[in-house]
Amino acid sequence: MKTVASQVSKQFNALSERAQKHLKSLGHPQSVVIQVGSATCENAAGSREVRSEFQKHIAASGRDDIILRQTGCTGRCSREPIVSVFKPGQVPIKYELVNRELVHEIFTQHVLAGEPLLDKVLDGPMTHMYRYELLYCASERCGWNETKSCGDALREKIAAKGLGKETLRVDQASCFGACGVEQIGKCSHILVRPDKVLYRIRSEADIDTIIDEHILGGQIVDKLVVPGKTVGRKFMELYGDVSFFNRQSRVAMRHNGVIDPTSMEEYFRYRGFHALATVLEKGDPNWVIEQITEAKLRGRGGGGFSTGAKWTMGANSAKGVRYLVCNADEGDPGAFMDRSMLESDPLNVVEGMIIGAYAIGATQGYVYIRAEYPLAIERIKHAIQLCREWGLLGKDILGSGFDFELDIRLGAGAFVCGEETALIHSIEGERGQPRFRPPYPTESGIWGRPTVINNVETFANITAILNYGADWFGQIGTEVSGGTKVFALAGKVLHTGLVEVPMGTTLHDVVMEIGGGAAGKKKLKAIQTGGSAGGFIPAKWLDTKIDFDTLNKAGSIMGSGGMIVLDEDDCMVDIAKFFLVFSQEESCGKCTPCREGTTRMLEILNKITEGRGTEEDIERLERLAKLAQKASLCGLGKTAPNPVLSTLEHFREEFIAHVIEKRCPAKKCTALIHYVIDEEKCIGCTACARNCPVNCIAGQRKQLHVIDQEHCIKCGRCFEVCRFEAVIKE
């Protein structure tokens, strides 16, 4: 055993050195770094052009101390492209919505002349530059004992010392991950930027010390620095710049938008393969499983099954060939965290898989990834290739004697293939139809061999657990569910993007605090979670804590973490119908309750949205839904009725309005609305008449126009083109 351990550490150290040497050769420490994102979403927003524009500027400037780096995405979709500028000694600045013109300004004014463009920064505008930024932990857990809140105390003291806004800025952040059990309720934490120093404070006096010695005296207060080993400290040193913007706690996504996803060397700098080396040096697969179990990691693919328990079953399964699969099918429309992780930090997922394979004794792994994600496929392929070149995949990994091969299998656009038994059929080259369980895949999976299947985000958490400790990971989150969860915020929310927060965070924090609430001053109506298998949580339940169990209780599910925000303009009946169309089209057709059930339910919903529904229809709908739930073979059919049942529970009045009053309260269902022109507002510009596809609008130039209701096909063109708000929906 001993020789294996020393062999592993020798090989690992050699790789680390190789990485370090390469990184050193890249540039001197005083360089200015310009960082541009590169992921599907960033590219769609125009980041490719931004990058090439910076390249031109750098070349033209003739400077060799300006470095252009590529990273994945930070998950702030609605603000992309995002560009960060790091100048030594200056608070890092992030710019949002960067385009060609802005590149020029950033380059000439900030990079060359040292004057940041304060009105263009992310979540700006900033009114002034400051030397320091103090972020204090506003999370409930490590809250402290003093009567005054940490934030209040901090602000008062700063005011008392007469420190101006040019010197520092104070803001709150979410959990820094520095709170072990023994600290709970006794202290708080403050991060000082740009120095990336994380302090633990127990009293107001500690705050005085930090201000006097660090802010005014320029000296780091060693005795208050969070000591050596804690994660918080490490996180701060490495990721202090991005992880906590916007009150998130990033664990699975800790490298996203920080490292270059195509560089093995950079991954090494961020403790890459440290966890694998530790595991192989220890040489005990059981130890790994114990850690994962202790961390209370639950699968992030939707089911929330304990990963430790699943790996135990894998490790105890029949001897011989075993397989490990990463489920990167991400079929739930509205979820995109897996894509982002694969594009922004693919090596982390691969390392998690190698560790998983070692734990369960698998020699072959597959990443099953949907074909709709070309860039993610490219990045994960590249990551696998790099691992082979560096001796981290293949035979005798790091000299440990452990062999593991990893290959890619592409999906082909069938949602049901995300279901594990269907996925297995797909990997076997069959039609992706689910089968009855048991036997479970851990007993009989690919080619009849034991197979462990986990989600991308599940694997992305493995290295964090092993590098920073199972107890720490278990601390974050709830009693029964450790760590964080990544949510994809989309729909009618102000800030769309990826949000990673501890399990147990409230919906309010995610949607209102981080997401900024409903966009465009609209009223928030509901939040959809869990996609076509989930349900709706009405706005009045925003204080629901997000966890597998609590969401179930609220009549929805966690699912993979898609979160679609709906506002007053959304018709709940229409949305329920949307999900049912989805399930009906994606049903593999193998069993009747699902195939026929979804079709029949859809017929009823069509009837209702077309204004032909009756009260009995609502009851029939409920009956059919319950039947499909009970009698379907796989998860797709069992959960397909959920959106319908959930809308019936929370928004029954909208169904009633459609059925009895023949009215669509959100004015969405075409059959139940009509377009009319307001006599007062119409100025006779003729725009509507010119755009009406069926020529049913009459009126002379500069005179009132009128819609012929008989012939109107309710296409809505007139409503869109009228610039005088004269066309109204009724």
């Binding site: 979403c41 769609a44 739930d332």
Partner: protein, 169 residues
């Protein structure tokens, strides 16, 4: 059909890829990968392609066509020069993807699954391409167009037509 004919139908590059696949312990598991390659090369899966794959990979022809028709991503009809995938996923739907889709259908004079008469565009509705934060989105070949509105459609289509014209010259 003799094997040489099958190789000719698919081309030597794909035939060789299949040869490689056959060395795998479970060649059948690579059927979907092979079909992806064929579609990438020819734009769609034609009957003769499927038969050739069946023969070279040693998989029953009925299984090959069964798999090809099960997965939505595989096209069994020829496609236009550019492939438009408009996302009809939840995030895009609530942000008005249906209006964008209607405009696309209107402009191209076709519906989902069809190709415009000039052979330039094929239109397909798809489920989430993972850029929900920039909804509504559509993908033309591998380029993602973000936050599209009906008004932007003619402009975007024209860009591609111009590109095609430029290529011709």
């Amino acid at each position: 059909m003799v094997e040489a004919d099958s190789r000719a139908v698919l081309g030597e590059d794909i035939a060789e890829f299949i040869d490689e696949c056959r060395k795998d312990e479970h060649p059948r598991g690579l059927l979907i990968a092979v079909l992806h390659k064929v579609q990438a090369k020819f734009g769609f899966l034609d009957g003769p392609h499927l038969d050739a794959v069946a023969q070279l990979l040693r998989v029953p022809a009925a299984d090959v066509s069964g798999v090809a028709s099960f997965y939505h991503y595989f096209r069994l009809k020829p496609r236009g020069k550019y492939m438009i995938h408009i996302c009809m996923g939840t995030a895009c739907f609530v942000k008005g993807a249906d209006l964008v889709a209607a405009k696309l259908k209107d402009e191209l004079g076709i519906t989902f699954g069809e190709t415009s008469p000039d052979g330039m565009f094929s239109l397909e509705g798809t489920r989430c391409i993972g850029t929900c934060g920039l909804a509504p989105v559509m993908m033309i070949d591998e380029n993602v167009h973000a936050e599209v509105t009906p008004d932007k459609i003619p402009v975007i289509l024209e860009e591609y037509l111009q590109k095609a014209r430029a290529e011709k010259e």
